[in-house]
Amino acid sequence: MDTAIEVHGLVVDRGGRPVLHGLDFAVRRGSVTGLLGPNGSGKTTLMRCVVGVQKVRAGTVTVLGEPAGAPALRQRVGYVTQAPSVYADLTVRENARYFAALYRLPRSAGDEAVRDVGLSDVAGQLVTALSGGERARASLACALLSRPELLVLDEPTVGQDPVVRQDLWRRFHALAESGTTLLVSSHVLDEAGRCDRLLLIRDGRLVADDTPDAVRRAAGASDLETAFLRIVQGEPRGPQTREAV
């Protein structure tokens, strides 16, 4: 079984209006998949479906062979929300150790994760005292420590400087090589090029599901930024994406 995420006919309503209109796609295990789309296109909603916290109107989401949100998946799936969800009135270390305890892991697992995201120097500081980028990494540390098989990361690199961003992406690929599946949403197009595969959504519909190269070719663009703009603005696309989908 080499599929980590399988989505069929996924329809989601939020606040009385449809947000996702029947999505179908699959994500291979051990890959880094980028989820791209303009603001409000449904990226976060889709991620919430994969994690199993979103009420779904129709369709199925299968994660690691189980229905999304199944209790057994809570040990196996890590989720980092867009807004860092760690306790602002605890130190970085206290946060990580608490999340380690939730997975019945020793404190050292928390300390290690703090080191892995490069926050050792501020481990003893309250999260409120940190910069936005550091907070995001503290939140990431709390998801990495359980070594999940699937990591769902909503804009993990927002507010990070280029050095940290590069370091994070290196880490994501190292995780993928060791068998972890990553689903990463992003706004930064040069990051999209680092993914094994891209999912582009627009207005709750999948408009591309391919490798970065194929997406570029299909849009007849030399770089992903142009390709993204062409696809999102609904300009005619080449025939390749159709075939690939």
Binding site: G52, V53, T81, A83, D89, L90, Y98
Partner: protein, 245 residues
């Protein structure tokens, strides 16, 4: 549910509290200051002081724990940490019992300081055992905490959460028999008073004030308080949803 996770959660909440020194100081100092005020208000009527201070020993921790937990839980909901917790292997009961345990510790500390001051320095006199007063006060504080957890589900902001204090706590204080003996109230008022848990806390405290040995009425009242706290916790658990729209 897991004892280890519940304890880790309680420890985490106490750590958050400990980082907030001002709140800790307020928890410990405010009831003692208010009791001191009462003592000098009724300088010439020691019997009235005994009656009112005994009731107030029950009312203050109930009120403060209600406020503290409703705001703390609301923060957990609005900061995204609750949703994140619910994607981890933690059980809903672990969260609620963790809160219950942590605030019971805070309530016990508060009750201990306030009671010690009332009995030793302010000359509060009860016919019954001061330890029984302590047990009832902590039980009542836990009830306030459980109600706070429950109503936090109906508040969208800290403003609203704070408004629940006069809405939920004040009617109980007015109708608990402190201002007008319950048996002298008109029938419908008495009926309302009968379903408000604070009435039983006050009745139990009054029993200790008047009788040397623990009465069966006091035990019955204590049982009602504990049962009300358990019901409020279960209602609180029902408001924790892993999936949201």
């Amino acid at each position: 549910m897991s004892v280890q996770v519940t304890l880790a959660t309680a420890a985490r909440i106490l750590r958050q509290l400990r980082h907030d020194r001002r709140t800790v100081a307020l928890i410990l100092v405010v009831p003692t200051l208010l009791l001191t005020l009462l003592r000098f208000m009724f300088d010439a009527q020691p019997a009235t002081f005994d009656r009112i201070a005994l009731v107030m020993l029950g009312v203050f921790p109930f009120t403060m724990m209600f406020l503290l937990t409703s705001v703390a839980m609301l923060r957990e909901r609005t900061s995204g940490t609750l949703e994140r917790l619910l994607t981890t292997p933690i059980g809903k009961l672990d969260i609620l019992l963790g809160y219950g345990l942590a605030f019971a510790v805070a309530a016990a500390l508060q009750a201990a300081v306030a009671s010690a001051l009332a009995f030793w320095l302010l000359g509060l006199d009860t016919t019954g055992n001061p330890w029984l007063v302590g047990v009832i006060v902590v039980g009542n504080a836990v009830l306030g905490m459980a109600l706070g957890l429950f109503v936090s589900a109906f508040a969208r902001s800290e403003f609203q959460a704070v408004q629940f204090m006069p809405a939920v706590v004040l009617p109980q204080v007015l109708l608990c028999g402190l201002f007008v003996p319950r048996e002298q109230m008109v029938g419908w008022l008495q009926a309302i008073s009968d379903v408000l848990p604070m009435s039983y806390a006050v009745e139990a405290l009054t029993e200790v004030g008047a009788n040397a040995a623990a009465t069966s009425l006091m035990w019955r009242d204590l049982a009602i308080i504990v049962a009300a706290a358990v019901i409020a916790l279960m209602l609180g658990a029902a408001t924790l949803r892993r999936r949201s729209p």
